[in-house]
């Protein structure tokens, strides 16, 4: 029971007891005597009740002040440099504890975001260095060569490097837009099966060219979902491209749409080396390309973008074991809660 309520209840009981006590001390024999007794004791009882009320009020006020002070003390110790402070939560489970819980959750979220921002800035600064470096050296070489054919080739490579950089920046933008939930006003109902079929058809020739087989078994019924068709198309295509890139040569890539009452699973499974369980968290981090020596234009942002798009839909990106290989799953609610309210 919350502490304040307990104090108030105690005060009430005490007031009642005191009234009874006052009335009880006076001997009475008739109704008239009883009425007189009550009348006589009323001022005393009222005074006692008022005193008790004041005392309890003071106790409650003191208690409230103490709890608020302790919260203020913690929040005032929090600075940009030290986010580690947390408000203590008592065992009472009252409104103050709920407030403390909320403040702590908010602090956790803020420090999580700050950490993410720091990581992002770090990795942007770090990971953009090598493409910018390649771009610079190609431009430098193009400026120095006398051979027009070589120069054209080098300039072509300058443009390609610039395009790759732009793609990285667009992906980062896409992630931050998704996190800000700005895409939600473009949500609409569409058929996930239709989308998966379209993407399977789109990527089938590419998979074949890279020596893989894309398998999609179309469910009989449509699977409607309230979401952003274009962004989910991007998320699924990122996962398919990933599977084509890292799946084993000559093996199957399986795409599946599993409908559910509340959750829809879009699964993309490959037969590549997969990702060990302890490194999956790392894999979905921005720029978290597991093999940093790999220099193709994937830039390791594919999974991070897919995850951000899943979050936009109140869903999640799961990386599971395909025994062998990687099973990437977009788990999406049929209709996200905020979108429903909007």
């Amino acid at each position: 029971m919350p502490t304040t309520l307990r104090i108030a209840l105690l005060a009430g009981i005490l007031a009642l007891l005191s009234n009874l006590a006052v009335v009880g001390f006076i001997h009475w024999h008739t109704n008239a005597q009883l009425v007189a007794a009550i009348e006589d004791s009323l001022p005393i009882a009222a005074a006692l009740a008022a005193l008790l009320g004041l005392a309890c009020g003071a106790i409650v006020a003191k208690y409230v002040e103490h709890r608020i002070r302790s919260i203020v003390a913690v929040t005032s110790r929090i600075t940009a440099r030290d986010m580690s402070q947390r408000v203590t939560v008592s065992t009472a489970g009252d409104a103050f504890d709920r407030l403390a819980d909320q403040i702590n959750a908010m602090l956790d979220r803020i420090s999580g975001l700050m950490e993410e921002l720091r990581l992002l800035t770090d990795s942007l600064a770090h990971d953009l260095r090598s493409p910018v470096g390649r771009l610079r050296s190609a431009a430098h070489a193009a400026a120095r060569t006398e051979d027009p054919i070589e120069q054209e080739e080098l300039l072509g490579s300058v443009i390609r490097q610039a395009d790759a950089l732009m793609r990285i920046l667009t992906a980062v933008l896409e992630i931050s837009r998704s996190q800000a939930l700005t895409g939600r006003k473009q949500f609409a109902w569409f058929d996930v099966v239709d989308l998966a079929a379209e993407l399977a058809e789109m990527y089938d020739p590419l998979a074949e060219e890279r020596g893989a087989r894309l398998q999609f078994e179309r469910p009989v019924r449509p699977v409607p979902l309230y979401g952003h068709r274009q962004l989910l198309a991007q998320a699924v295509s990122n996962l398919i491209e990933n599977a084509i890139r890292y799946g084993a040569i000559g093996s199957d890539i399986r795409i599946e749409v599993a409908p559910g009452e509340r959750l829809i699973r879009v699964e993309i499974g490959d037969r590549g080396p997969g990702i060990p369980a302890d490194r999956r968290q790392e894999a979905r981090k921005r720029f978290g390309r597991l093999d940093s020596s790999r220099s193709d234009d994937g830039a390791g942002l594919g999974l991070a973008v897919a995850e951000a798009i899943a979050h936009l839909h109140d869903g999640q990106l799961l990386l599971e074991d395909n025994r062998p290989g990687l099973l990437a799953v977009l788990e999406l609610p049929v209709q996200s809660s905020q979108a429903e309210a909007a």
């Binding site: 732009m166 896409e174 895409g183 473009q186 020739p205 060219e209 952003h228 274009q230 295509s237």
Partner: protein, 227 residues
């Protein structure tokens, strides 16, 4: 044939780069440096195409576009924007523009889109386009059948759509992003050469066994169907 193009762009460098390039292509270009001025010039309806920057001083690009469409000015509008996310692109297209190009862009990409838009305007004015033919290639959009030199080609649905889009833009460069947007209706940048693979499949069915290839690669830009 030169056309009248209005460029509404506040960044002087981009505006003069556009004007110079389009001028070299034989178009006559007028410039407006802000939204209000641009809207004022555009309302006389004498332009064949408007290139509109999305972020403009005085009146932003999408507002200019809305005002134009409200005034029943149906001049094709190509929106240029540094806002590159998928959501931004959709928003730009849904606001009544005919095409949306993300900055920075290559001039080849811009020119290809300008030409496609101008061509579309022409096609709209000339109805009875129910049969397309390019050299010995015949396309019937109603039955979705394709014949080359009288012989029927066996195309998958998407390959047909690709070919029809190429044929409608005969003799004009079509870029990979244009194909992704127009034939697939997707607005993200794939990280692979997925479009090229489709084009080379189509090319195999279209040109193999024929002396003259119709579908050509334009280096650094895209593809072109030529008679």
């Amino acid at each position: 044939m030169g056309r009248k193009i209005l460029v509404i762009e506040d960044d002087r460098e981009t505006a003069s780069y556009l004007a110079k390039g389009l001028d070299q292509e034989g178009h006559s270009v007028e410039q407006a440096g802000n939204g209000q001025d641009g809207l004022f010039r555009a309302t006389d309806g004498s332009f064949d195409l408007i290139i509109l920057d999305r972020m403009l001083p005085a009146l932003d690009g999408l507002s200019v576009l809305k005002a134009l469409r409200a005034a029943k000015i149906e001049t094709p509008v190509l929106v240029l924007s540094a806002l590159a996310s998928v959501g931004d692109r959709i928003e730009g297209l849904e606001s009544g523009s005919d095409d949306y190009l993300v900055k920075p862009f290559s001039f080849a990409e811009l020119l290809a889109r300008v030409n496609a838009l101008l061509r579309r305007r022409e096609a709209r004015m000339d109805p009875a386009q129910h049969r397309l033919s390019v050299a010995d290639l015949e396309i019937d959009p109603l039955s979705r059948t394709v014949k080359r030199a009288g012989k029927k080609l066996d195309l998958k649905p998407r390959e047909y759509l690709l070919l029809e889009y190429f044929a409608r833009n005969e003799g004009r460069v079509v870029t990979r992003t244009m194909l992704l947007e127009q034939v697939w209706d997707y607005h993200f940048d794939p990280g692979t050469n997925v479009i090229d693979v489709h084009v080379s499949r189509l090319r195999r069915k279209l040109d193999e066994g024929f002396e003259k290839p119709l579908l050509q690669t334009v280096r650094g830009a895209g593809y072109m169907l030529v008679a």
